[in-house]
């Protein structure tokens, strides 16, 4: 079977680790060339790039703090110089300050909002000229914290709500460019980022409280992203697809009989 994404190029922010890495590998397995972006961990990004190349596609690595408008511009310039075009932009990189509401200062708020929400706005603006006329896809990665309350998750949760709203606006305004824009939202995903919340005691055994009987993995999220990047998802626009094993529709998950783990 012909690889559906052969000859296409995807930029995935924050793809050295976690959901970004799983998404990069998933799209690469469909034949897509990948630009791996990282901020603080070059070793992880280089490792991801190696794994992508082992799948027989091209991988480039670019450092950029997506909280910094100038760095976002440089990152897209890099994509333009290396490939000349872009088909898929996954706005995945996230950061955040885990504090109760009354401990969030302006610096922590701005840091979180700029990396998690503004980066999609500025990224889409930069991606547009590289994507126009190519049937491009943009997918942002959100979390259930945009709708539900978790301890100390305020800044991130609010930034994800902004991200989802922005996804809806972009989806309409980018129709003339032939670009589809959607979001994938996940509950707690088994990544390094989650380890922080476990260490702090805010998250316990999510396997027990997820209705299907196991936690969401980065690969589960990557599958949803890959679908939204396919032509089969053409009519899905501005949506936030939730990948949570039933968590968000279940008020009392522990009493529900578990599916297969």
């Amino acid at each position: 079977m012909v690889n559906p994404l052969q000859g296409k190029v995807a930029l995935i922010t924050g793809s050295g680790r976690g959901i970004g890495k799983a998404t990069a590998l998933r799209l690469a397995s469909d034949g897509c060339d990948i630009v791996v972006n990282f901020f603080r961990r070059r070793d992880a990004a280089e490792q991801t790039a190696e794994e992508i190349r082992a799948l027989g596609v091209r991988a480039e690595v670019v450092k950029a703090n997506v909280g910094d408008p100038a760095k976002i511009e440089e990152m897209f310039q890099f994509v333009g110089e290396k490939f000349g075009y872009l088909d898929i932009f996954i706005s995945n990189a996230a950061s955040g300050v885990g504090r109760p509401v009354f401990d969030i200062d302006a610096k922590a708020w701005d840091w979180t909002m700029n990396i998690n929400a503004r980066a999609l706005l500025l990224g889409a603006q930069q991606a547009r000229p590289l994507m126009t006329g190519r049937g491009g896809k943009i997918v942002s990665i959100s979390s259930l914290g945009s709708q539900f309350v978790w301890p100390t998750y305020t800044a991130v949760g609010v930034s994800k709500a902004a991200l989802e709203a922005l996804t809806r606006y972009l989806s309409i305004e980018m129709i003339p460019d032939g670009v589809s824009v959607n979001a994938v939202s996940a509950s707690a995903v088994n990544t390094e980022a989650l380890q922080f919340y476990i260490k702090e005691g805010y998250v316990k055994d999510m396997n027990a409280t997820t209705p299907v009987g196991r936690m969401v993995t980065p690969e589960d999220v990557a599958e949803a992203v890959a679908f939204l990047c396919s032509e089969q998802a053409y009519m899905i626009r501005g949506q936030t697809i939730i990948v949570d094993g039933g968590t968000s529709v279940s008020l009392y998950p522990p009493v529900i009989e578990k599916g297969e783990a």
Binding site: R40, R41, R42, D43, K63, N65, V97, K107, A108, W111
Partner: protein
């Protein structure tokens, strides 16, 4: 101004501590810097000298002196 003095100035501005209280033996913890302060200080120093201080290296710093020594070594590499 030496690299050490410049780095001290950056850390002082971001962490909100007096420059005179930052010593080579001092730590970010003693300065009451949180993880956001530390990342922002690292990024500011990276941009000042156009160098890279990956987290895997930064995690090895035991005090401010280690941080400065790393920056000095990286800037020297650049010539």
């Amino acid at each position: 101004m030496t690299v050490e003095e410049e780095v001290k100035q950056i850390v002082s501005r971001i962490v909100h501590v007096e420059e005179s209280t930052i010593t080579r033996e001092g730590t970010f913890k003693e300065m009451k810097a949180d993880s956001l302060d530390i990342v922002q200080a690292l990024v500011a120093v990276e941009e000042k000298y156009d160098i890279e201080i990956p987290d895997e290296e930064a995690q090895k710093f035991t005090n401010f002196g280690d941080f400065v020594d790393f920056v000095v070594a990286e800037t020297a590499k650049k010539g």
